[in-house]
Every structure is written in structure tokens, then in C-alpha cells.
Symmetry: C2
Subunit: 446 residues, 2 copies
């Protein structure tokens, strides 16, 4: 079997374990962890307890004096959502063709079971072929990434000595787009809160009481409308503190990237792109913080004045924005815009993820770019930004004192978290070759 | 048995039939209709077909030369909602005490099975005692009032000749409050529509796409916030056309009514009353049109930019406001305030109910007041307004050319449409006496 065939055979088994961390039983999650630990038996693969789903750990430390690289990934998956929206059963890996490309479809194929197995196989083959590895390796594969890694922090803090390393390389994450190889050198921070507006004790008949009490939906709409000015800028005072405008150099870099705004617009199906005035789409996406209402709910279809209305709000942060300060600024803004006649409360979810950045000249980035360039001769390796949030980066930086290199061979268009998730078969061989080149370069200290 | 005991015995049987027109089977609805027709057998009670739930009809025309009065009511009830919120099973009539008063509790007890049975019993007793009635009577008791009477219009138009009458007296409706007898001489009109904002083809990850597309929830919030100005006035141009400010005389009448704003506020549990500047609460409630968002929905708790967001909107109309013109004005306003980057659509529910009014000096109102005054000696009979909407009034006026007198002995505080619906036992005897006085007066032509 080729390496790709080996990965696909294992991936079919791995995908068949429905390790949906939002809904699966502890037994199912443990079965997935045990299965993965078994695949890592050649480097001491084992299941270790956390206060939630267990983590899978493994270590190979047969190269004294060489750097220690911690490989991060996860074995849990997103819920399938509505099964009717899947072309084939989500937990049966199916080889098929998407947009003319050879792919495998299934929940977790690209996020993150395929990319994890790719590394597992590569390390096994390398060790079998060479009898050694270019660097020392630790694996830390968690089972709660898709639910916000609620217990990973405690685990890492409790095992900081065992996890000591020089670098984290993440098999999670994704290349920006299929047209060229890329490395993400930044991700945005995150805070999250609910705005809850309450009026009367119960829903009121909109005829019998209409016009005499403030309507919580109207009040909430005023608060939401106050979040942005007419130019699409976030209107919360001091929101942008720590988020500097991109330098002329960064603007020039961004302008040099070929980015088809019209294709992007058409792909999303929106009538027009929109956002903060004064920036193009790529700059908005990669360099600017955002405030988005993710959901709103209140009342229903019938003739009531709802007694309550709620909005869920997240902010994505960049640069040196302080998550706690942003939460405080949003809370103050909400209270300043709360209309009379209702009670307005902000429920802080406690999420505090700062933005993350690895310098473009960091040795790991340099090594990763070189490895990718070898595998994709003649193509530029883009330095991209993950506009999403990867909380583990902050955790590893804080507890282990190391940076994280994102080196995933998933691609961002592969229906992550959506029906018909897929993984490009061609990325398996490419990824194995690039990981080999990366580990070799890290071992050489280049 | 006293008349009250007879009504309560029958009411227990009637309430036990779960004629919830939103959820019950056609068989259950028919069973309720057949049961009621049986109770009207002494005046030819029968079930007649409509394209939906049947109506119950009956006629007594033994008083040639006397007016014909059509008694309107309904045998369907609202859904129970969450059974856990009921103190006793909703379909078991339970005698109990509420706020120190002797009541019966059960779904439909006050809306509208109790008030309907009250009239049925009164007419039977009167006929038994006197051998005749002071007026000719027709009964029209429908089974779809709680779902907006979708088939009543067709039925009334098709049977206009059989239903010809001089006046409708409705056993549906409710007295304004328990502290004194009242007759409602007006009800508000209604239009209803949905505002649907659509952005991208699917929900988008709020990180990966944040800041590059318009968020439909933000757009909808701007539209909702634009509906009212800072003074609580509806800001839709020409909305108030046909809704004159109350005259000085009407203001004086309203001011003469004892109305405790603080008790009203405390009863609703709101931090403060609110509404259109320049009017007190009772004027806002009875004389002013309103626009309320009854519900809003979009996205959810997770980190998405929702692809769509929807608001359900109803307007309550007064005076000569034209329902069609109000709908057109709201649609134009929404489109004028639709932000760029999203598609905004208004779905018109087709509801077109004008406001209704019966003159205070109409003979039926005069007769009703006098009948109530006899039963409640020494108490003022208030002329009130139903701030809700009673579409059948417009139907009877248009097709039969007659006014409707609301003469119900339900009270608006009896948990209509809510858990623990109840009906005051004392109102049964009072209602029977008052209905007798009303029919006698109508027969005398007074």
C-alpha cells in the first residue's frame, strides 16, 4: 500500500467512530481515544485522564540534544447537523469527486482526523525506514477542541513538565485556500457575551398591552444598531485600543496577494461585500477586529410583546487588544445605550482569548515555508492569517513558553463544521512529504 | 339546581373536550361542535360545514315583528402551552379560589366556553319559563376563532340570507377589569407582516468571514430601531393617517376614568411604563395605534454570521386608518431603511382588519348599559375599548350590515390564552341576569 492508501484505510476506521464531543457518550469518546492511542503504540501511545474527555499522549525521545516538538491535534468532531443535508452518511468515509478533485467525505475527514493520521503515519514510516527521527516528539491529541477545550488548560498546567518542548506544531488549522500552499502566522482573539433585555414578567398580548410598555425586541435592536457606525466601524468606545491600523508595509504585502473580491462575493452568495470603511476585504479579514451578533432571539410568530430578547455577541481581536478590556468596553457601551423601561443585562461568557502571532522570521515558519516550497516547486508559499480563533496557541505560549506553528493539510473550503465535510486526497501525500521536510529542518536547527 | 350550578355542570363537560383548534384532530373539533349543538337542540341546534372546523347554528324565530339578534361565540380554545405551568389539568374544570374569589379553572372556561354556555342556559330557561323570547335569535358559534377565523368569512358570505339580523351580540370578548361592569365600544384593527433579511447562502463562521459581509442581524436591528423615534412615536411616514389625536372631550372622558398607572406597572412587572410621548397610559392603550415586533430570530448561540434574520411585526390600528395603506407604508419604510449588502424582503400576511367602533349612543349600547346598571346597582358602567382585535366585527358589518355589541361576562384578567385560565363564578349569575335585561330591552326596541 502507498502511504496515502494506508492513511485512507485507517481514516475510514477513525471516521466510523462518531466522536461528536457535543453529543456522544463518554464511552464513544473513550473508544475514539483508545483507537488513536493504539495507532500510536509504536511511540508509547496512551490515554490520559482529564476532567472531561481524555487526551491521547505519546512520546519519542530517542534523539537527545535535538529539539522537542509537540504535535497537537484533536480526535473529536463537530455534530453532523441535519443528516438530510449529507450526500452520504457522515460516519462512513466515502471516496468521491468534488469540484473535479479526488476527495474523501465524512465527518472529521479534514477536521481533524485526516490531518492527525497523516502525521501518525509519517512518523511511523520514518521511524521504520530510518530507525530514528530528526527531532524528539510528543503527541497531545485532545477530545474537546470542538467544544472549546474546556479541560485542556488544566491538563497542560498539571503536566507542564511532561509536555516541555521547544515548539508546538499543530495538525489542526487549515490552509487558506486550495490555489497555493500557505502558512498561517496569526489568528484572532475572541471574547463572547450575551445581551439580555427583559421587560414584563411574561409575554404580553400585543393588543391588550400594546403601546404602554417598552418592547424588549425594540430595545435590543437599538443596542445592536448602536454597535456599528454608518461606516461599518465598531462604535464601542476604546474597542480599537491595541489594534493598530496596518502599517504601509503590511498594506503593501496584502495588496501583493492575488485576491478576487468578486469571486469571494459570489462564493458567499451575498449581494455585495460590506465592512469597515477604508479597508479592502482581505485587510478586513486578516487585520481588523470585528464585533458580530451571532444570534438573536425573542418572542415568536404570534401577537405578543415578548418579555425578553437576547443577542449572542462575539468579538474577534487582533494585535494587542486586551480581551478583558474589550469585554468591559462592550458592557459599558450596552448599558450606555440601554433604553428606558427595560432591564438590560450583559452575561459575560468568560472567554478571554488574545490574538496570536508567530513572527514571519521565526525559525519554525522559515522551516515550514522551505518544506512547503520543496513539495510545491515554483509556487509561492503564502503567509496567511486565520481569522478564526485557536485558543490553544495562547495556552501553549503561557504555560509551555513556546510558539505554535500551524502545519495542517486541510484546506479552509473543505466544509469544516458543515454537511459533506471532505479532505483532498492529494493533500495526504503532499502533507507527508512536507512534514518530513519540516521535521528534518527542525532537527538540523535550520 | 340553580342556573349557576347548571352552567357549571355543563361547563365541566364542555371543557373536557380538548377543542384546541391549533392542534386537535378534526374528530375532536367535531365532537365539541356536536356536543354544543346538542345543548342547543331546543332551538334547532345543528352542525354546519365550513371548509375548516364546522360552525354550530341554531335559530328561534317565534317572535315575528321583533328584532333578530345573532349570538356569536366560539367553541375552540387556545393551546394549553406547557402543562407544567398549570396548577390543575387544563381539561378538567376545577372549582377553586383565585385572589379570594370563587372561580372555575380550565382551558376555555372564560374564553369562550363559559360565556357561551351562559347564554345557551339563559335562553333555555327563558323559553321554558315564558314560552317565548323577547327577540328572535340566531346562534353562530365557530370553531376557528383562536386561529384567526380563516373560514368564517366564506361561511357568512355563503349564508348571508340565513344569518340576516338586526344586531350581533358577542358572547366573546371580555370586561376590561373586575372592579366595575363595562362595555367595549371599540376594538383595534390589525395588520401583520414579516421582515426577512438575507445575506449569504449559508451561515458563515464569524471568524473566517467576519468583517467582510453585512450581518443580517445587524441589518434587521437597524430596520427595527428605525420603526420608532426617540419619543416612542412610530416613525413610519404616513402611519398615523386616519388616526386622529383624541379630541379634548375624549381626553376628558379618559381622564375621568380611575386608572392606577403604578398598579398597572407593578402588575406587568416592568421597571417603568413607556410609550408614545404626550399621552397617558390609558390613552396609549385605547386611542393610539401601535407597531410592535412580536418576535425576532436569527442565528443562534454559536459563532456564526447568520445567513438570515426575521422579525414578525403587527400594527394595531384605530379610527379610520386604512389597513392596506399601513402595510404599504411599513413596506416602503423597511425598504428605505434596508442597509446595503443584504436582501430585505417584507412578507405581507394578508391580514387586513380595520378598527371597529360602535357609537356610544347606539341603541344596543344604551340597552346593554341599562341592563348592566340593573345588575350592578350603584356602579358606573364604563365604556371601554378592546385594545385587541376582533376581526368578526368587520365581517358582520360588511356582509350583514350590522353592528356588534360585546356582552361578555369574562374579565380580561382571567388568564385568557395563558396557563390557569379561569372564570369567575359570580359572573355567571350576573351575566344571566344582564343578558335577560338586554334581550328584554332589545325586544322593547328601547
Amino acid at each position: 500500500m502507498t502511504a496515502t492508501e494506508e492513511v485512507l484505510t485507517d481514516l475510514a476506521e477513525f471516521v466510523a467512530i462518531p466522536s461528536d464531543s457535543r453529543h456522544a457518550s463518554p464511552e464513544t469518546m473513550r473508544a475514539a481515544a483508545e483507537w488513536l492511542a493504539g495507532r500510536l503504540a509504536f511511540v508509547g501511545g496512551r490515554v490520559e485522564e482529564t476532567r472531561g474527555n481524555p487526551v491521547v499522549r505519546a512520546d519519542w525521545t530517542g534523539a537527545p540534544g535535538k529539539p522537542i516538538v509537540l504535535v497537537y491535534g484533536h480526535y473529536d468532531v463537530q455534530p453532523t447537523g441535519d443528516l438530510a443535508e449529507w450526500t452520504t452518511p457522515p460516519y462512513e468515509l466515502t471516496r468521491t469527486v468534488v469540484r473535479g478533485e479526488d476527495v474523501v467525505r465524512g465527518r472529521g475527514a479534514t477536521d481533524d482526523k485526516g490531518p492527525v493520521l497523516q502525521v501518525v503515519h509519517l512518523v511511523r514510516r520514518l521511524l521504520a525506514e530510518r530507525g530514528t527521527l530528526p527531532v524528539n516528539l510528543r503527541f497531545l491529541l485532545e477530545g474537546e477542541e470542538e467544544i472549546g477545550s474546556p479541560h485542556l488548560g488544566d491538563y497542560v498546567r498539571a503536566h507542564a513538565t511532561d509536555l516541555a518542548c521547544d515548539l508546538v506544531v499543530s495538525a489542526d488549522g487549515a490552509m487558506w485556500r486550495p490555489s497555493e500552499p500557505s502558512i498561517s502566522i496569526a489568528s484572532k482573539g475572541l471574547v463572547s457575551l450575551d445581551v439580555v433585555v427583559t421587560g414584563s414578567a411574561t409575554d404580553l398580548h400585543s393588543g391588550r398591552y400594546g403601546g404602554t410598555v417598552a418592547n424588549p425586541v425594540h430595545a435590543l435592536a437599538r443596542v445592536i444598531a448602536s454597535f456599528h457606525d454608518a461606516d461599518g466601524r465598531v462604535a464601542v468606545p476604546s474597542f480599537y485600543d491595541g489594534a493598530p491600523d496596518p502599517t504601509p508595509e503590511r498594506r503593501a504585502e496584502l495588496e501583493a496577494i492575488e485576491f478576487d473580491e468578486e469571486a469571494y462575493r459570489a462564493g458567499l452568495g451575498v449581494p455585495a461585500l460590506a465592512g469597515e470603511a477604508g479597508f479592502d476585504t482581505l485587510t478586513r479579514l486578516w487585520e481588523r477586529p470585528t464585533l458580530e451578533v451571532n444570534g438573536v432571539t425573542g418572542g415568536g410568530k404570534y401577537s405578543v410583546i415578548p418579555h425578553t430578547a437576547t443577542a449572542h455577541v462575539t468579538c474577534r481581536l487582533v494585535g494587542e487588544q486586551d480581551p478583558g478590556a474589550v469585554v468591559a468596553a462592550v458592557i459599558a457601551h450596552v448599558h450606555a445605550h440601554a433604553p428606558a423601561g427595560v432591564a438590560v443585562q450583559v452575561v459575560d461568557d468568560g472567554v478571554r482569548v488574545p490574538a496570536y502571532r508567530i513572527p514571519p522570521d521565526h525559525p519554525a515558519v522559515v522551516a515550514g515555508r522551505a518544506a512547503l516550497a520543496d513539495v510545491h516547486p515554483g509556487e509561492d508559499v503564502l503567509l496567511a492569517v486565520i481569522a478564526g480563533t485557536l485558543p490553544c496557541t495562547a495556552l501553549f505560549e503561557e504555560v509551555l513558553g513556546v510558539k505554535t506553528l500551524f502545519f495542517s493539510f486541510a484546506t479552509a473550503d473543505e466544509q469544516h463544521h458543515a454537511p459533506d465535510e471532505f479532505f483532498r486526497v492529494a493533500r495526504i501525500g503532499a502533507g507527508i512529504a512536507a512534514w518530513t521536510g519540516l521535521l528534518d529542518r527542525l532537527g538540523e536547527g535550520s
